[in-house]
């Protein structure tokens, strides 16, 4: 008799588990809903990688400078413009308006990249 769980306790247990699962599910949904999709662009060896990036509108793009020399990320039509990024510094831009954005490093203008927002 002692090892048998009382019926009311068992129901409580199941209910608690379901609540926990629901809470976890809703938390997971919230974390997706809280932020836009994110994409990374790496700056290494004076090169933007990927050189051409295609994203959905609303995507958040983060450039990270992996070089020992500062770089910038500046769109040709000034839609976005980072401050000077020293080693390991990042620049984030949320692409809200569809279009093709050519960009470059204003310090080393041979460094060019393209962002396509669909």
């Amino acid at each position: 008799m002692r090892i048998r769980m009382r019926k009311s306790s068992w129901i409580l247990c199941v209910a608690a588990s379901m609540l926990l699962a629901l809470a976890a599910l809703s938390a997971a949904q919230k974390s997706v809903a809280a932020g836009p999709p994110t994409v990374e662009v790496k700056i290494d060896n004076f090169t933007f990688t990927p050189a051409t990036l295609t994203v959905k509108a609303g995507t958040q793009i983060t450039w990270t400078n992996g070089d020992d020399i500062p770089h910038t990320v500046v769109s040709d039509n000034q839609s976005f413009k980072s401050k000077v990024l020293d080693t390991d510094e990042k620049f984030t831009f949320t692409a809200s308006k569809p279009g093709t954005y050519s960009y470059f490093c204003s310090i080393h203008p041979k460094m060019t990249g393209k962002l396509v927002v669909e």
């Binding site: 060896n45 004076f46 080693t87 960009y103 204003s106 310090i107 203008p109 041979k110």
Partner: protein
């Protein structure tokens, strides 16, 4: 660029450009080769760098100055974690010259990130130089955030436009140009229409026998366009200097010595006092080159420039910090 190639270039140029080079003296020394080469009336002579008395005799002139470049104050990455020490070593090298230079040129990238403290540190170290007369042009690292406003307040008080200017020293006309502003996507260095017009007017009144020295940060000849090592509109600038018998172009930016003679123009780039960069195409990118600690100072240095009036020429001697 191998040394032999340069010799060929100079000799070949001498034979074909039609300029009278009687008594013409052209010196160059290559960090690492330990030789001073002198072209005199078409005959190439070389002196060992271990023979300072002969070098002094060969290179002594009426006008003597020193070029330093790319001190990148604030840089602290593995390629050189102590750019203060190497700039101090460069100043010590200048202090050790047989005769003090009359003035100095700094061909840009004074600072690494355009920070006031970086400029302050360089100014303080240069206080120990044998001359307080230092002429600057900006590198792209000196004009990072404010279109060069801070740079011009510090170093360009009596300059035009983005910081260009000219002055005369003992009959030599020196021109400081700015080719690091308003850079265009996909391009290299840029002088711009306004500066080119000013240059044309600036040299208009000079006689063609006036020796002209042009100094700017980025090379005014296309060394390696793939890495942006050149200036998009440099040919237009040089077209205004065609009629002069002796033109010397001094640049920095590429952190290594390179020399080319083309017609009446000698191009020369100086080493950095901070860190070396790879030879064109010898690495995936032009980023700072990490070398074994004991080799670093052999790749950094200063350039000693001498003008010998009677020979109507400039002598350039590169010295490493070793």
């Amino acid at each position: 660029m191998p040394m032999q190639k340069n010799r060929d270039a100079i000799l070949s140029d001498h034979n074909h450009d039609g300029i009278d080079r009687r008594g013409f003296l052209k010196c160059m020394a290559w960090a690492g080769t330990g030789a001073l080469c002198v072209l005199e009336g078409g005959v190439l002579k070389s002196y060992g760098l271990d023979d300072p008395a002969r070098i002094a005799k060969a290179a002594r002139g009426e006008l003597s100055f020193v070029q330093i470049s790319d001190s990148h104050m604030g840089f602290n990455k593995p390629a050189n974690s102590d750019v203060i020490a190497t700039l101090k070593a460069a100043v010590a090298k200048i202090n050790a010259l047989p005769a003090p230079p009359e003035f100095m040129l700094h061909t840009g990238d004074i600072s690494h990130l355009s920070k006031p403290v970086e400029f302050d540190t360089v100014d303080q170290i240069l206080q120990s130089a044998p001359t307080k007369d230092v002429f600057f042009v900006p590198g792209e690292h000196d004009v990072l955030e404010d279109d060069g406003k801070q740079y011009r307040e510090r170093y360009g008080k009596n300059t035009k436009g983005a910081g260009w200017y000219s002055f005369d020293k003992k009959g030599v006309h020196l021109i400081g140009l700015v080719n690091v502003m308003n850079l265009k996507a996909g391009g290299m260095g840029s002088l711009g229409a306004q500066q080119l017009k000013w240059l044309e007017d600036d040299v208009r009144h000079l006689s063609k026998s006036t020796p002209v020295i042009v100094f700017a940060h980025m090379p005014l000849w296309n060394i390696y366009p793939e890495w942006g090592w050149g200036t998009d509109d440099s040919a237009q600038a040089l077209s205004h200097l065609k009629r002069f018998g002796s033109v010397t172009v001094l640049n920095g930016h590429i952190h290594q010595t390179m020399q080319k003679v083309e017609g009446n123009v000698t191009f020369h780039t100086a080493t950095s006092t901070a860190f070396p960069q790879p030879r064109p195409g010898a690495a995936p990118s032009p980023g700072p080159m990490k070398v074994p600690a004991e080799q670093l100072r052999g790749l950094l240095g200063v350039t000693d420039v001498n003008y010998v009036r009677k020979h109507h020429a400039l002598a350039l001697i590169d010295s490493t910090l070793e």
